[in-house]
């Protein structure tokens, strides 16, 4: 198999990492197309960071192999490092240096020609809206600004792949949204492939492709839309004048099990939008409201792992809200 030439910028085959008896990553087969925003979704401890660590040559796989930008991560670590940019989960800026000094430090480490470095620093500071903070000490920047600076630094040497490990952890929702504005621009404007990990479902929605990981294993990988299509049913919530009678009627007429919740009755049905008119004509109980929710990534995660992802920030499930009576 020739990894390059097939359009995949990251390719892994049976990639495995074990710490003693614990398998952090248990045989990962992955192909990430170039120019994509590729999301790695999973709860904390799923093995996402370990995978990134191996792909970035910071740790050695126990077995299996992987190539990044056509270079083997074990045999050609230097070539891999030149082709990747990295934004870690935690801040890795030198707080005692200025914005520009941090970038110049990186440019020197990557042995960039001086003039190229200068042009590129100017361009990237514009891109992440930090041009006016060029000479500010990093410790005076807000959390969101520091993140943006880190993204700029990750892109400085024009990497083929930008790895982002939980890029918006610890940021408030507003800043998180702003960071995503920049991220979404990058593949378009900079031609870079973005590989990111997240446990935020709302963020996963932005990705072109999504891989769901749990317990070190890759469960499924597809576009968010196709992943959700697998669920093939919508969530319908109705409020009626008499929930008990309505639930009875839904069971006898349509053969569906409706559960009572704080929001009224809820049940799943394929093509919820088309079901609503039928429901209204068949039910004799007065209906106050009907809500149809298409499947979310939460449902997808639940479907593959049997449990909801822990995510306070995302459109979390309210299934456990409990019966009203």
């Amino acid at each position: 198999m020739t990894p390059s030439g097939t359009g995949a910028v990251i390719r892994t085959e049976g990639l495995r990492k074990a710490y003693g008896d614990i398998e952090a990553v248990a045989g990962l087969d992955l192909a990430v197309p170039a120019g994509e925003i590729f999301g790695f979704l999973g709860p904390n401890g799923a093995g996402k960071s370990t995978t990134i660590s191996m792909l970035c040559t910071l740790s050695r796989p126990t077995s299996g192999r992987a190539e990044v930008a056509g270079h083997d991560i074990v045999r050609e670590p230097a070539a891999v490092r030149r082709s990747i940019g990295l934004v870690f989960q935690e801040t890795t800026l030198d707080r005692e240096l200025t914005v520009e000094e941090n970038l110049r430090f990186q440019a020197d480490l990557f042995d960039m020609p001086r003039r190229t470095a200068r042009d590129r620093i100017g361009h990237l500071l514009e891109l992440v809206d930090l041009a006016d903070r060029r000479n500010a000490m990093v410790r005076t920047l807000s959390g969101g600004m520091q993140r943006r600076l880190e993204i700029a630094r990750g892109l400085l040497h024009s990497p083929r792949v930008l790895f982002l490990d939980e890029p918006t952890t610890g940021l408030d929702p507003q800043t998180r949204g702003a960071i995503w504005e920049y991220l979404l621009r990058l593949p378009r404007e900079d031609g870079v492939t973005i590989f990111l990990t997240t446990h935020h479902l709302a963020e996963a929605e932005h990705c072109g492709r999504l891989a769901i990981m749990d317990n070190g294993k890759l469960l499924v990988e597809d576009t968010p839309a196709l992943l959700k299509a697998v669920i093939a049913s919508d969530l319908v919530e109705i409020r009626t004048g008499d929930d008990t009678a309505a639930a009875q009627a839904i069971r006898t007429r349509f053969g569906l099990d409706a559960t009572a919740s704080a929001a009224g009755l809820r049940f799943r049905v394929a093509d919820g939008a088309a079901f609503v008119p039928r429901l209204c004509s068949e039910l004799t109980v007065p209906i106050h409201s009907v809500t149809v929710t298409p499947p979310t990534l939460d449902d997808v995660f639940l479907h593959y792992t049997g449990r909801p992802i822990r995510d306070a920030g995302g459109p979390g499930p309210t299934l456990s809200a409990g019966p009203r009576r």
């Binding site: 390059s4 030439g5 359009g7 995949a8 910028v9 170039a34 120019g35 970035c56 040559t57 910071l58 740790s59 050695r60 930008a69 056509g70 670590p77 230097a78 070539a79 490092r81 030149r82 990747i84 990295l86 870690f88 935690e90 801040t91 890795t92 800026l93 030198d94 707080r95 005692e96 240096l97 000094e101 430090f105 990186q106 020197d108 480490l109 990557f110 042995d111 960039m112 020609p113 190229t116 042009d119 590129r120 361009h123 630094r153 040497h157 024009s158 083929r160 593949p187 378009r188 404007e189 900079d190 031609g191």
Partner: protein
């Protein structure tokens, strides 16, 4: 080239893509790594004015108060000026030791920076750069050598206060101090790559620094210590730094005598050999640290 065909052309770039770095000699790249890490150290150094000031207070107190106090306490009857061992000014004797103390703190702090960089995550960023890790460590050590020696400059300027004449020898002393500062930084670096927790590191470094200093002859003559302690003196790299410093600075050896320095089987090595020995140990320790640092888990 596998490089070109995997990159889709459909994504135009606003700036010219950075050309692949010219295939310069690996040595040139290492030099650039050394320089950038050294530069970072210098930037941090000049911005830390408060620390520069405070770090000078302690040795100054040592020199002026302890030195003067001991000088009068140790004033032996019958000791005339320039009449052999025990005759000189104790403060002139203490001067090289205090210089060493001035250098020690900042130099080891620079080595300790690795621990803090690791804690802060900055180290990971460096580790993922396509540079040799040995060059990273080397740059840090050169930075430590420079800033350590820089701390010694104001102290050297005070030579006259303790009766040490001004002259070219002070520049020589500075050169020795650069080497000593380098060694201290290497010691810090070696500790930092082996120990990951800042708390543990501080304790271990504190435990190492004290005996190293006391058994180096920096503060009192060590040639009359009991045998097992004397062995520690002879293997202590700092002993050679201190002794070289003493022999370079006029009056450094006067108080304790010429033969108070380290001896190899009764033979006193010349200053240059002492310095070479110290340099060799430092470079060796740096190589061990670089080896350890280069391991990926």
């Amino acid at each position: 080239m596998t490089h070109a065909d995997a990159l889709p052309d459909l994504t135009p770039r606003p700036v010219a893509a950075v050309p692949a770095p010219p295939r310069r000699a690996a040595a040139a790249r290492d030099l650039r790594t050394l320089r950038v890490l050294w530069r970072r150290e210098m930037l941090r150094f000049v911005r830390n004015r408060v620390r520069i000031a405070t770090s000078l207070v302690m040795p100054l107190l040592f020199l002026l108060i302890l030195g003067s106090g001991l000088n009068s306490a140790l004033d032996r009857p019958g000791a005339g000026a320039g009449a052999g061992p025990g005759s000189g000014d104790f403060r002139s004797y203490l001067f090289p030791g205090v210089l060493l103390m001035v250098v020690q703190g900042p130099a080891m702090t620079v080595g300790a920076l690795i621990v803090w960089d690791r804690q802060a995550g900055f180290l990971r960023q460096m580790l993922v750069a396509p540079v040799r890790r040995g060059a990273l460590l080397g740059g840090i050590c050169l930075g430590g050598a420079t800033s350590g020696a820089a701390y010694a400059v104001p102290m050297l300027l005070m030579a006259g206060v303790v009766g040490v004449p001004y002259g070219f020898h002070l520049l020589l002393a500075l050169a020795v101090l650069v080497l000593v500062a380098f060694s201290f930084t290497v010691l810090g670096v070696l500790g930092a790559v082996c120990i990951r927790k800042p708390e543990t590191f501080d304790i271990v470094m504190g435990l190492c620094a004290m005996p190293l200093l006391f058994l180096s002859g920096a503060l009192f003559p060590v040639h009359q210590l009991p045998g097992w302690l004397n062995a520690a003196v002879v293997v202590n790299p700092l002993t050679y730094g201190v002794d070289a410093l003493r022999r370079v600075i006029p009056g450094g050896t006067a108080w304790a005598g010429e033969d108070a320095g380290p001896q190899w089987w009764g033979w006193t090595p010349p200053v240059l050999l002492e310095l070479a020995f110290l340099a060799l140990l430092a470079v060796g320790a740096l190589a061990v640290a670089a080896r350890r640092f280069s391991r990926t888990d």
